[in-house]
Amino acid sequence: MNEKNKAILFNPLSKDNPVTVQMLGICSALAVTSKLEPAVIMAISVTAVIAFSNLIISLIRNSVPGRIRIIVQLLVVAALVTVINEILKAFAYDVSKQLSVFIGLIVTNCIVMGRLEAFALGNKPWPSFLDGIGNGLGYGLILVIVGFFRELFGSGTLWGFRLIPEAFYEAGYANNGLMILPPMALILVACVIWIHRSKDKNLQEK
């Protein structure tokens, strides 16, 4: 793996992060993060969809006419998402119930379409595949950070295991109910952006 491919794979983790910098794929990032487990499953599904749709579109990029490319892309992505949806229903039924419509909504997740338009249409299959993996991981990173804090402070558990001991509750500690509510996810993402941008001054908006 040469320097260029390494940059394609690792840039989306920090300075080119799809959620906090490119402003893509925010919808699902917020709705599925009240617990860690669905967040991780969502991250894996999205990574798989981006990587393989990037690969497929990159393979057929020269034979698709420009005018109908959006519909072709949507159909490829929708087929991949249907496969993932059926796999989840078969092997992780509880989680797929929790994620409900949000698995289906990966089809319109802007990260997928954004990367297809911005990268896969103009690059060879192997870099496109890496770009998909990288962006999926960058998205997953944010999901896991947000999911970690929301579950820890909101329910006192991580991945379903109780982490905050009973003694704390007896001493008067209470779970922060606000953390479970959806708006808190937005505020946590805003905090991540805040920390990220005060470390990396180039990203600040004028």
Binding site: M23, L74, L105, C110, P183, A190, I193, I195, E205
Partner: protein
């Protein structure tokens, strides 16, 4: 009548696409910098929701659902095509958006120019596909109710994006910490608006 009214009000306030489910967030954040374009996009989204929901409702109930193909004959009663729903829904949305673009370009060039690039982009707005998926989940009793649900969700989205754009126009004059400028503060404002909208939840109509 009761059904129509309560679905309409619920979809605007209690189940607001943006603040209750966070759908259509990407275009919401990217295009809410001034009120005029935000309003244009909101109108376009409302219109597409209003048109796609009844079409998808009919497809769901007469083609996709288990037993929906009954009208073809007894032997089709067991056929369950619901695994195809995602592909069908997105194809309907994409083609209706394409169709609308052509119609508006031909007959209403003024509106076409003011919507510009947003029109084709609506195909990938999560709020539109989300509307169809929620319709499938909620199992509405009639096409009319599904249409009203589409209209209401669209109006709720329109309200949200216009309000957000108005706040962001005013924000230009305030002194925000540098790293929070732009995207960061937009997130926090959305969260506060969302908290405000939560006061509607729990109201029963």
């Amino acid at each position: 009548m009761q059904d129509y009214l309560s679905t309409f009000v619920r979809s605007i306030f209690m189940e607001n696409m943006l603040f209750a489910y966070f759908l259509g967030m990407c275009s919401f954040l990217a295009i809410s910098k001034n009120v005029k374009t935000a309003f244009g996009l909101g109108i376009a989204v409302t219109f597409v929701l209003f048109v796609t929901l009844p079409v998808n409702y009919l497809l769901e109930n007469y083609v996709l659902k288990q037993g929906a193909l009954n009208w073809l004959g007894e032997s089709f009663a067991e056929v369950d095509l619901s695994f195809l729903s995602l592909i069908i829904f997105i194809a309907v949305v994409a083609s209706i958006v394409q169709l609308l673009e052509m119609i508006i370009e031909k007959f209403l060039p003024g509106l076409y120019n003011s919507l510009g690039i947003f029109l084709p982009l609506i195909a990938v707005n999560c709020a539109i596909l989300g509307g169809s998926l929620f319709m499938q989940q909620k199992d509405f009793p009639s096409t009319g109710v599904a249409t009203i649900y589409g209209l209401g969700s669209g109006i709720g989205w329109l309200m949200a994006i216009t309000g957000m754009a108005a706040i962001r126009e005013k924000l230009q004059y305030s002194d925000i910490p540098k790293p929070l400028k732009g995207l960061g503060i937009a997130f926090i404002i959305t969260a506060l608006m969302g908290l405000g909208f939560m006061s509607f939840s729990g109201i029963k109509i």
